[in-house]
């Protein structure tokens, strides 16, 4: 079984996000980028399928994503069999529709039995990748998945609903799966192994012909949430703040004394 795992670099949310001067996009220039946390979960789940039944796992990134090589080599260090850096089309677009179209073009030439990718990315503006990619590929899809197990005639996936209810679905391949969480926390790749992968140079660059992309909304403006209801900030030393919080709880009769 060939499993393709598309991964995306997204802004690290720990950083303060600035907007461009026309306020229709975020300013990417000084941002730190990290692999989307749900794509990291997707890679882990793909590797778990490989561990269980010997699948071939291929990580795929878009060449224009910041620091994507580092992410691809990390995927190899974790156990991916190969990695692909995609060029072509609107490869520098942040829109899911353009990214899905390029990935669909790639998958038309190097098909996968199973695509496993993150349920969403924090910067999705026009929809989530798994259902959109599946639509371009005309394949079935299941998203918000918390487990994938290979079976004799396909995969069994666990799809999660509000409150933690889970549906177990039997799915024929090919198919696209969107991962909410892997069955275990993503494995760790030692830095020495990432360096080894980089020295071996296993990332292959592929130029893909994008499928025709669908429609996307137009951004009018971006802004920070109104700060009108902002919290009253408690300042001072940890001790001062602890005293203030203890007071708030005591006032409401939530602690003794």
């Amino acid at each position: 079984m060939r499993i393709v795992v598309p991964i995306k670099a997204v802004p690290d949310l720990v950083e303060e996000i600035e907007l461009t001067s026309d306020e229709t996009d975020i300013d990417r220039e000084f941002l730190k980028f990290v692999v989307s946390e749900w794509d990291a979960q997707a890679l882990e789940e793909a590797l778990l399928v490989k561990d269980a039944c010997g699948a071939e796992v291929v990580a795929v990134g878009l060449a224009s994503d910041p620091d994507i090589d580092q992410a691809l080599y990390t995927a190899i260090a974790k156990g991916a069999d190969a990695a692909v850096r995609l060029t072509g089309g609107a490869a520098d677009s942040v829109l899911t529709s353009d990214r899905a179209a390029l990935l669909a073009g790639y998958l038309a030439t190097e098909p996968a039995d199973l695509v496993i990718t993150g349920v969403q990315a924090s910067d999705d503006l026009d929809g989530q990748l798994p259902p959109m990619l599946a639509a371009y590929l005309r394949q079935p899809h299941v998203s918000v998945v918390v487990g994938v197990v290979a079976t004799a005639d396909g995969v069994t996936v666990r799809q999660e609903f509000a409150g933690g209810r889970v549906h177990e679905l039997a799915v024929r391949l090919p198919a696209v799966v969107g991962i909410q969480a892997a069955r275990q926390a993503p494995r760790y790749a030692p830095i020495t192994r990432i360096r080894q992968a980089m020295q071996a140079g296993g990332v292959r660059e592929v130029a893909a012909e994008p499928a025709p992309a669908g429609q996307a909304p137009a951004v009018r403006r971006m802004y920070r949430p109104e700060q009108t209801s902002h919290a009253q900030m408690l300042t001072g030393s940890a001790d001062d703040v602890a005293e203030a919080i203890a007071g708030l709880l005591r006032d409401r009769g939530l602690v003794k004394g």
Binding site: V144, G164, H167, E168, Q232
Partner: protein, 320 residues
């Protein structure tokens, strides 16, 4: 093309989800502004239509593959509904059905999609949706021009009361599309979440911990605070996914909704999916070293003091 707004009903085969009423309320307002009506696509048991009195019309597709949510079946049935009803706008909740179907419907029905929508309005011939992006740190105002559009809406964005209504609505039946008899997937089993050792939904006070805690060992630190207060620990999703606390402690969209008298959040950023589960707490006190964390937009009190300094200090204060 009509000027109607169509809501995808979410259900578990027996009960219509709360989020559906929120969407029907929104649909009524938007449809009124456009001069159309609020319709609901009910894919599954037709007798659930009785719970949808808030809609002008319920469009019903019944088939055994639709008894409970099944992605491919729902997608084909919804496309059949859209082909017949031609709404101006489709609303889905950005829970599992919306995350799973929204973007595929956008491709097959050839309509732009706005995800994670927190507000939506009609401006002339254009629909303008406000999407929460980057974990709620930024809002993006998106224009959905043209003849048709799809929006997936964040839970809690609209009041559910406005979507409830008395009496049975008009029901329009649509024949199930042929594809439903030949699907690439089937539902094998349904499992309900395991009850936990404690019920966080009944606690008056919750001490909640997020990814800022960094490791399982550090959870112990917050546990000491919980012990002193005599309350259970709750958590954001990543803490549960990492296996540091059981699923029964998860607050949020895919966890539990809580409404304690006070909610203490340590190292939680306040992503929309988390806020969905705790925004109705009477008092929210948040500790986060990032002054721009969205949790501060809904917290009553906040502090940027490091949790590793604050938690021990608070534990000490409260054990005196």
């Amino acid at each position: 093309m009509t000027r109607n707004v169509l809501v995808l009903a979410e259900h578990d085969g027996k009960q219509i989800a709360e989020s559906t009423y929120e969407l029907i309320g929104a649909a009524r307002g938007l449809a009124a502004a456009m001069g159309g009506q609020a319709e609901v696509a009910l894919l599954g048991p037709r007798d659930l239509a009785g719970q949808l009195g808030g809609a002008d019309v319920v469009v019903s597709v019944e088939h055994q593959a639709l008894a409970q949510y099944l992605p491919q079946a729902c997608e084909l049935a919804l496309l059949a509904v859209l082909a017949q009803r031609s709404p101006r706008l489709v609303l889905m909740s950005s829970a599992t059905p919306g995350l799973d179907l929204g973007a595929a419907i956008s491709v097959h029905w050839q309509a732009p999609l706005a995800p994670n929508v927190a507000a939506i309005e009609v401006a002339g011939d254009t629909i303008v949706a406000t999407a929460q992006i980057l974990g709620g740190k930024i809002l993006a105002e998106l224009e959905l021009p043209g003849e048709r559009a799809v929006a997936t809406v964040t839970g809690g964005a609209f009041p559910a009361a406005a979507g409830r209504g008395e009496g049975p609505p008009e029901v329009v039946e649509i024949a199930p599309p042929a594809g439903l008899d030949d699907l690439a997937m089937s539902l094998a089993a349904v499992s309900e979440p395991q009850g936990g050792d404690v019920d966080i939904t009944t606690a008056e006070l919750l001490v909640s911990v997020g990814r800022g805690i960094e490791s399982q060992d550090n959870v112990e630190l917050v546990q000491e605070l919980g012990d002193v207060l005599g309350v259970p620990l709750s958590a954001s999703r990543p803490v549960v996914d990492a296996g540091w606390l059981p699923k029964s402690r998860q607050v949020g969209k895919s966890g539990l909704k809580v409404k304690p008298k006070a909610y203490l959040a340590f190292g939680i950023s306040g992503a929309p999916e988390h806020l969905e589960g705790m925004r109705d707490a009477e008092l929210i006190i948040a500790c986060n070293t990032d002054a721009t964390a969205p949790i501060f937009d809904i917290a009553h009190y906040g502090t940027t003091v490091d949790l590793f300094d604050l938690v021990p200090a608070l534990t000490e204060k409260l054990s005196q």
